[in-house]
């Protein structure tokens, strides 16, 4: 706050009042806060830094062998470096396109990249996270279906995604049916039975699913479309560089969490949610979208477009209330994917897959673990069963600076491996487990 006492006096004079308090003379005295705030006294940078460092010491950076939707991928230092350009991070939403071409263009590049990964024709400028983007996808399906208000979720979607969709749907008035899994994969027969009832607006499944299994969705799109329903796939965008895409499975919508595109673990956020769809659903898609256009001199330029769908125009008739995007995280994902490129995005998946199978084979070889879902293909994440005391095991690993597998209950343990985990780290994990 830069004003000197002299500034304030001169400004008050211009306004024609004697004190700043006079500017609050319209506020009832009874609501003016006169007590002292119950927050600490002002800190200098030196004190502030110390405070944060002290708090930081109460966290522990670990060698991560868990995923659960958040993966410890490596991000080249260039990404974080470029993200510190304050022309990017101190800008507002690009409502003045003439002086926001930087933001608008990277969003266009982001949309292009996500569309390449999902195989879909359109992608919006990003959503809050994977769970909320799925809730928005569910609403999109209901808004597109005529008089159908029920959506089926496979139980093999991440639990947190199902929970958020349930919350959104409960209040919005959409009926959700969760289809119980069968041996770790989606129960297609149960979905077919539900579709027969004729009231299903759409179906949501996951690739890879919550256990890391790459499910086979052959026949789903035809079956769902024949019952006039829509098909949505929740996907790991990093894995889509190698996995069969939502478009190839015949989906109408793809959604998911962008964290796997190199984003730091960030204790849960910020990440981003993405949502892509086929061209025909474009006008039902929530959120911001950037398109190409020309300026008065014929130069290529980028603008926010299709704004007629959005809340600030349609108010209570809008398809969604979202009025922001995770713009800076979209920039993060864009720069990350640009650096990794066509080959790199494939290579990290190959690496993670090889590493995950190396760990899997080593765990089975100890004789203490069995496959939880024998024969099911997986990429970077898998589940094993064990008679060991998981709590004790993970405690021991934590003491050694390792975040072990996620405890799924019933003696099931879920591990994830990214390209960041070396063979030595995996060997060390195994030796600690059998110790």
């Amino acid at each position: 706050m830069p004003h000197t006492e002299e500034d304030i006096q001169a400004m008050l004079e211009r306004i024609g009042v004697n004190s700043i308090d006079e500017l609050y003379s319209d506020v009832p005295q009874e609501v003016i806060f006169k007590e002292e705030y119950d927050i600490p006294s002002s800190m200098s940078e030196i004190e502030l830094r110390k405070h944060f460092e002290d708090l930081g010491k109460k966290n522990r950076k670990l060698t991560v062998f868990a995923g659960g939707g958040v993966y410890d991928h490596y991000s080249p230092s260039t990404v974080a470096h470029l993200l510190q350009r304050s022309e990017f991070y101190t800008a507002y939403t690009p409502y003045q396109p003439e002086i926001s071409q930087g933001t608008l263009q990277y969003i266009f590049e982001y949309q292009s990249i996500i569309s390449e990964l999902t195989g879909m024709e359109a992608t919006n400028a990003s959503m809050y996270d994977g769970a909320t983007s799925t809730a928005e996808a569910v609403f999109m399906m209901v808004a597109s279906a005529k008089k159908k208000n029920r959506v089926l979720l496979s139980d093999t979607l991440p639990e947190r995604v199902i929970n958020v969709v349930r919350t959104y749907s409960k209040y919005h008035g959409v009926e959700i049916t969760v289809i119980a899994e069968k041996n770790g994969v989606t129960d297609f027969e149960a979905i077919k039975n539900e579709l027969e009832k004729g009231d299903v607006a759409g179906v949501v499944v996951a690739t890879p699913n919550k256990y890391g299994i790459i499910e086979d969705y052959s026949g789903y799109a035809d079956e769902i479309h024949s019952k006039k329903g829509l098909f949505c796939i929740y996907a790991d965008p990093s894995a889509l560089a190698v996995l069969k895409t939502p478009a190839e499975w015949g989906a109408d919508i793809a959604c998911g969490d962008g964290q796997s595109l190199g984003m730091p673990l960030n204790f849960g956020g910020p990440y981003l949610g993405f949502i892509s769809c086929v061209k025909g659903m474009l006008r039902k898609m929530p959120g911001r979208v950037v398109g190409v256009t020309k300026d008065a001199d014929g130069k290529r330029a980028f603008v926010l477009t299709l704004q007629a769908r959005e809340q600030h125009i349609r108010r209570e008739k809008a398809t969604s209330n979202i009025c922001s995007n995770q713009s800076l995280m979209a920039l993060y994902a864009t720069i990350y994917v640009a650096l990794m490129g066509k080959q790199g995005m494939k290579e990290i998946n190959v690496r993670a897959c090889d590493g995950a199978h190396y760990l899997y084979d080593a765990l089975i070889a100890t004789g203490k673990f069995q496959p939880a879902f024998p024969g099911e293909p997986f990429l970077k994440e898998f589940v094993v069963k064990t008679d060991m005391n998981i709590e004790e095991l993970n405690k021991r690993l934590l003491e050694n600076g390792i975040m072990g597998g996620l405890d799924l209950g019933d003696g099931r343990l879920q591990f994830a491996v990214t390209e960041k985990r070396t063979k030595e780290e995996i060997d060390n994990l195994i030796s600690l487990i059998i110790a």
Binding site: D295, M340, K342
Partner: protein, 491 residues
Amino acid sequence: MKYYDKLIFELSRPGRKGYELPENNYGNDAFSALPADLLRKDNAELPEVSELDVVRHYTNLSNKNFGVDTGFYPLGSCTMKYNPKINEELSGLSEFTAIHPLQDEKSIQGALELYYNLQKALANIAGLYEFTLNPYAGAHGELTGLMVMRAYHLANGDSKRTKVIVPNSAHGTNPASAMVAGLEVVEVKSKPNGSIDVEDLKPLLDDTIAGIMMTNPNTLGMFETEIMEIAKLVHEAGGLLYYDGANLNPLLGKVRPGDMGFDIMHINLHKTFSTPHGGGGPGSGPVGVVEKLAKFLPNPKVKKNEDGTFSIISDDESLGSISSFLGNFGVMMRAYAYILTLGKENIRNVGPLATLNANYIKESLKDDYLLPIDGVCKHEFVFDGLKDKSTHVTTLNVAKRLLDYGFHAPTIYFPLLFHESMMIEPTETESRETLDEFIEVMHKIAKEAKENPEVVIEAPVTTLVRKLDETGAAKNPILTYRQYKKETEQA
């Protein structure tokens, strides 16, 4: 400087690389063994570029942007205050950025303590009982807050309370959030000064009303002087008061929403608490409530244990979860740093100085621009275009001309109460010199409008691109590079 107009895809050359991985020594070739029918057929057409290509490309793009660090950003309702650099650095500490949200509680005590401290500080600043920091943005906070409202009435067996009152001057997100939360919107009229018309409100207050959504000061920057009466009426009718925190800045250090009778509110950390807007996000929209509503706040929650440690808990009576984890933690770190820097002493000055700056601009410009409501404003105010209507120079023209002079435009054509709305919010972090420069330019534009209107109507002329064809973009939406390439090749 040379005009730069490449897309990252246009720099691509087959085989070029911008990364390096260590040797693959797992020795198992597991990927090759995956069933081919589960893999994609064609490669994603992603860029193939070098590290230097990437650095130059995005540096060049950043030069095509205007941010708070570039210049004055008087965008009404958006509170574009300075984003202190120390906050950026502290939020990047790896002890926070490198922790996994599902780590054992013992290994994330620092992060949980920060969440708890910030939650407590916001509750005190807002005069409410408890906050959740999980919502990702202001609109997400609104949605969460309205879910709390509904959860409360449903828990009381009051299922017919399905309507929410929203002033017709409200931000567009208010009615949209109500719709998403399954509530029906009932509009209450505003008086000419933008305040809620209490006489119009009274007949709406029956037993179908869940509550009212308001902001104070209202969208015209005027304080709702009848707030205590409104609070009393709504509470007597069994409804709850929701406070849209978009306009909290002028009250910081002066008035607490809880003390005005509000039961639920959201705060935009990216406005009032100086976290960067990031080109549109990530933001953070914490939601605070009075004590009787605390149990309904979304899961997960952070609780302080008796031994001083912190835990993540789930509450059975909670409305459920609205986020994957505990929200945009990185944004919270910056807001927490900002609050500690201000401290209990300096927080007192935030609202008053923001209000001083707004009134200073208003009084300096009201001879040239039409001030529809005279009187003291708070952090922002609205002009209804130029005072001299004979020039046919519109608010849009003025806004674009400001770009030529190196300022960001104000918020325009909102609120909808006037035809030529121009909403100006300077914030407390701008110096008198900056305000004076802005005032001078605004006078100059008014003069140009009178003497040489073409100059203003043709604006902008100094920007990298000008007068974009927005209609064409919407008529034939080209949203990806693949589509762009296809259409330009066909043409």
